[in-house]
């Protein structure tokens, strides 16, 4: 599925916040590609920089406090680092669609959903009011909202959370973007609705041939939906691989911690789920260390003093961990990993 020119290509993206002297590093040299038609999952705990990554790419971070540096942020042929604010605006909504975590508060309460869907097409494609409304109706049908004609005139507060997330998806897909960024799209929804929404996103990706970046902390969602995974910790990508490779051969101490905290992540009949001790550091660790060292079950003496380099385990699998053989060996016999082999 991976072709020569990726939809989105990011190299060494760093973001820091705050005034000089007291700057806080939120992202530290993040690199990844999203191939055409692929779903890349960005996984990690809250605060690890998943959302900041996407906001930085879209130019949505407040200019006055965020400093963004990158070797490359390339959307197709367009260099997003050099794009003017106006050019970035036409990228947002037209070439990159975005859906967010909380559908209950993500729609303007005082406008109908039909208006809010039609608005994107009127802004980017210059459609007439009538044509945009007709397209909005088709889109509501596309995201499988029952009785779409009636919903067109509904206000957000008249719809359920799942419905509203479908409306958000309709807005994101209105201009048939080449990339969809879904930032924890199911976190605020019921479990049954979660599955429906993920299925919808996966189906639409196929139908429309777009790429998807799926930001999530749910490895279950990753396993069922994504093609490739990038695991993030404290502002860095610590491991990246196709889903099957990652789950067959987890190699970073943090990936191991995530898998162990799943049902079946340790033994067949555990009565209590394992957890990763401690909390995510608020911002990235000192530059000369692996940020996960303190919480890591596999930490070596060198982890606290040297930053582990990115190493290729296989062609598509890279990992920044000094003890990756031990990690892989320790997880080889867990039910979760065995299920993937």
């Amino acid at each position: 599925m991976i072709t020569a020119s990726p939809t989105l290509s990011v190299r060494d993206l760093s973001v820091s916040f705050g005034a000089t002297g007291a700057r806080l590093q939120a992202l530290d040299r993040v690199s990844f590609d999203v191939a055409r038609g692929e779903i890349l999952a960005l996984v990690g705990e809250s605060g690890c920089g998943k959302s900041v990554t996407m906001m930085a790419i879209l130019g949505l971070l407040p200019e006055r406090v965020a400093r963004i540096e990158a070797q490359r942020i390339q959307l197709g042929e367009l260099d997003l680092r050099k794009a003017t604010p106006k050019a970035l605006r036409t990228v947002r909504g037209r070439r990159i669609g975005m859906i967010f975590q909380d559908p209950m508060t993500s729609l303007t309460p005082v406008h109908t959903v039909g208006f809010q869907i039609a608005e994107v097409m009127r802004a980017h494609q210059g459609l007439s009011r009538r044509a945009a409304q007709a397209r909005a109706l088709e889109l509501l049908d596309l995201v499988r909202i029952p009785d779409p004609r009636r919903r067109l005139d509904a206000y957000p507060h008249e719809l359920s959370g799942g419905m509203r997330q479908r409306v958000m998806i309709a807005i994101a897909l209105a201009c048939a973007p080449e990339l969809l960024i879904a930032d924890e799209p199911t976190t605020a929804l019921d479990v049954t609705v979660q599955a429906q929404i993920m299925e919808l996103i996966a189906d639409l990706r196929r139908e429309m041939g777009m790429s998807v970046v799926l930001i999530t902390h749910d490895l279950g969602v990753v396993a069922t939906t994504a093609d490739r995974v990038a695991v993030m910790y404290a502002g860095r990508i610590v491991e990246e691989a196709p889903v099957a490779d990652l789950f067959r051969n987890p190699s970073h101490g943090y990936t191991a911690g995530l898998i162990r905290s799943l049902p079946g992540g340790e033994t067949e009949r555990q009565t209590r789920l394992a957890e990763i001790p401690g909390n995510v550091p608020r911002f990235a660790a000192p530059p000369n260390a692996c940020a996960f060292t303190e919480r890591c079950a596999f930490a070596l003496p060198g982890c606290a003093t040297t930053r582990p380099p990115d190493e290729q385990i296989s062609q598509a699998h890279r990992c920044a961990c000094f003890n990756r053989e031990a990690v892989a060996a320790a997880l080889r016999d867990t039910p979760f990993v065995r299920a993937w082999v």
Binding site: R92, G93, R94, F100, S106, T108, P109, A123, A172
Partner: protein
């Protein structure tokens, strides 16, 4: 909606009754006697008594009120003690300048204050924001008559762009009328614009932090569209509330402004009536203002429903 409006109008009637009782008591508690003023400097006590009897001021207070109230029910608010003209007729004669002045003021206020407040919120903590809010503080702290005299001095006396005082009725043309109320309306508008700009800024600032504003950015909408179509409309309820309150305070401002600029409106009528203790006119004018207020409150409530669908149903 229509039913709701009708219910609210009917509910306003008891309010008006209470207001008239209150005003009636207040007028008669304050010192001063129209009969003495009317009779002139050299009147004998007998003459004064005669006048009192003619005006029925010798009756007990509750009887005076009862007589007035029964007439008021038939929309007869009595007659001026001085000119003898019916109060309703006096009000109708004076209503046009006040309406033109009031509406021009409100229009100016909204045109100045709402875009200013919204823009200040958009550029929060920048120079533009500080400048706008600095202006708001000045507008809010300086009394309307001071602003009125300053405007008069600069624009009417020095530069002769506008008349110093007076009012040209609409019958002499729309332009003439608007030209004659420009200065007083600006003086009044500056005061209310200050208040409304501050409230608009606060309300819009609140909304700009909402998730749905992030959505509008992700949609790639233009800044004016995000600010005015999404943020400002969502922040509409508190803004409309303050505009409504502004209308109410405007009545006080109109009275002062009409005196400063010598405009023959209801404000002037009120001031003249109070200085001459013209009881029926005072009573009628205040009743008229109360009815206007009730109507404004109703309009404000109906506007809520118009801008925010969550208020409906």
């Amino acid at each position: 909606m229509l039913r709701y409006a009708a219910t609210r109008l009917v509910a306003g009637v008891p309010t008006l009754v209470l207001v008239s009782v209150f005003i009636f008591s207040l007028i008669h508690i304050t010192p001063g006697d129209p009969a003495i003023l009317l009779a002139g400097d050299n009147a004998t006590p007998a003459q004064v008594e005669a006048i009192r009897a003619r005006l029925k001021l010798d009756l007990p207070l509750w009887q005076q009120f009862g007589l007035w109230f029964l007439d008021a029910l038939r929309l007869d608010l009595g007659s001026s003690v001085y000119s003898g003209k019916p109060v309703t007729e006096l009000i109708m004669q004076r209503i046009e300048p006040t309406l033109v002045l009031g509406l021009t003021t409100i229009l100016l206020t909204i045109l100045i204050a709402i875009p200013l407040g919204a823009y200040a919120a958009w550029r929060v903590n920048t120079f533009v924001d500080r400048l706008a809010m600095g202006f708001a503080v000045i507008g809010f702290s300086v009394p309307v008559f001071v602003i009125g005299y300053v405007l008069l001095y600069v624009f009417a006396v020095k530069w002769r762009l506008f008349p110093v005082q007076g009012y040209k009725p609409l019958s002499e043309g729309m332009f003439a009328a608007l030209h004659s109320v420009t200065l007083p309306a600006t003086a009044l508008a500056l005061v209310f614009a200050a208040l409304i700009a501050r409230v608009t800024r606060a309300a819009v600032l609140d909304v700009l932090g909402e998730n749905y504003i992030r959505t509008t950015r992700a949609k790639g909408l233009s800044a004016p569209r995000i600010l005015f179509i999404h943020a400002l409309k969502s922040a509409g309820v508190p803004v409309v509330t303050v505009v409504g309150i502004g209308f109410a305070t405007l009545i006080g401002g109109v009275v002062v402004t009409e005196s400063v600029f010598n405009i023959p409106g209801i404000g002037r009528l009120t001031v003249d009536a109070i200085t001459r203790r013209d009881y029926p006119v005072i009573q009628g004018v205040i009743l008229f203002f109360s009815a206007a207020l009730i109507l404004i409150n109703l309009l404000v409530d109906l506007t809520y429903a118009l801008i925010d669908p969550r208020v409906r149903g």
